[in-house]
Symmetry: C2
Subunit: 194 residues, 2 copies
């Protein structure tokens, strides 16, 4: 395999680790097998990531970043707060399908890991999503669309909890149908408006 520059090598290792973790589970995947699948030696892998945990942290941070960038772009062109929520929520199925491997890794770890570093980066991930929705809800309250007695933090967590449930079912048992998704989004928004 051609020699890659450091940032590209890092990206490649994250992609390979995501695929292997998703396929064989986090616990069953070794750094040796990741290095081998990436066509590098283990010392090279360790130059980029000190441990398997570090790779997990990098996977989750890359997901958080990408997700929030996409959401920010999506709402930047929309003024109406209810439409903002719909626009973000309606894109979730495509987003989760596209990042299916990464979500498998994230939720597999959430469901089974007892590792503090893993827990810490998951908390960081949800804190960022919480902050995003809290702000959208607050803006919606300021403009008088969402009810004033709605707690923005709770509203944000309503989105997070539904999103986790959606990903868990869709990725593992079979896709939740589009009309159901649309109705759930509509019910959530109706519960928030004045």
């Amino acid at each position: 395999m051609a020699r890659l520059k450091a940032p590209q090598r890092r990206e490649q290792l994250i992609a390979v680790a995501t695929r292997l973790f998703a396929r064989h589970g986090y616990d069953a995947t070794t750094t040796a097998s990741i290095a081998e699948a990436a066509g590098v030696t283990e010392p090279i892998l360790y130059r980029h990531f000190k441990s398997k945990q570090d790779l997990f942290v990098a996977i989750v941070r890359a997901m958080s970043q990408q997700m929030l960038r996409e959401w920010e772009e999506r709402i930047a062109v929309i003024a109406d707060p209810a439409k903002r929520i719909r626009a973000v929520a309606e894109a979730v199925p495509e987003h989760i399908k596209r990042l299916a491997d990464a979500y498998h890794v994230l939720h597999g770890a959430l469901a089974t890991s007892q590792d503090k570093k893993v827990h810490a980066v998951l908390r960081e991930h949800y804190a960022q999503i919480e902050a995003f929705f809290r702000k959208v809800v607050l803006d919606g309250q300021k403009s008088g669309v969402f009810r004033a007695d709605l707690d923005p933090r709770s509203a944000a967590w309503q989105m997070i909890l539904s999103g986790i449930g959606y990903a868990m079912i869709t990725l593992n048992l079979g896709e939740v149908e589009r009309p159901v998704v649309d109705q759930v989004i509509e019910s959530i928004v109706r519960g928030w408006i004045r």
Copy 2:
């Protein structure tokens, strides 16, 4: 250990398997270790359960049964459909805490298992919860409390998805606080009423 009658032995094996699966993961737990922890030989275990999968199926079915029995009892004494939803949803945190090991096993399997028999019993589990909430929603539409354009199946799935997300966070990252839970329930109900 004293000799147990068949139904008690079965119950005991389910309880021991739930604890071991929750602690060490489904994959890492062997029928040999379950038999040992239960104080029986493997052939005795196999008299009750043909395989580890069969034990998993029994765990999930026992959970579904207990949950639905509790929910049916809870709503039997309540006429108002919005209050019925609140009563069931408000009891979820205590229910999940009490059955924490079983939920760990269920969600661990949902997040990571690729076993068809495991998937089948999980589908059965969610189909029963869906049927329960669908009926409560339909009754609520008949009595004019819930809006007529609400799809009962989607409403049921809104509860299931939020419930999965709630259990995943609470059991693995730290309890979702009570005021947040109460606000989420209130938002869900508000999204359904006329």
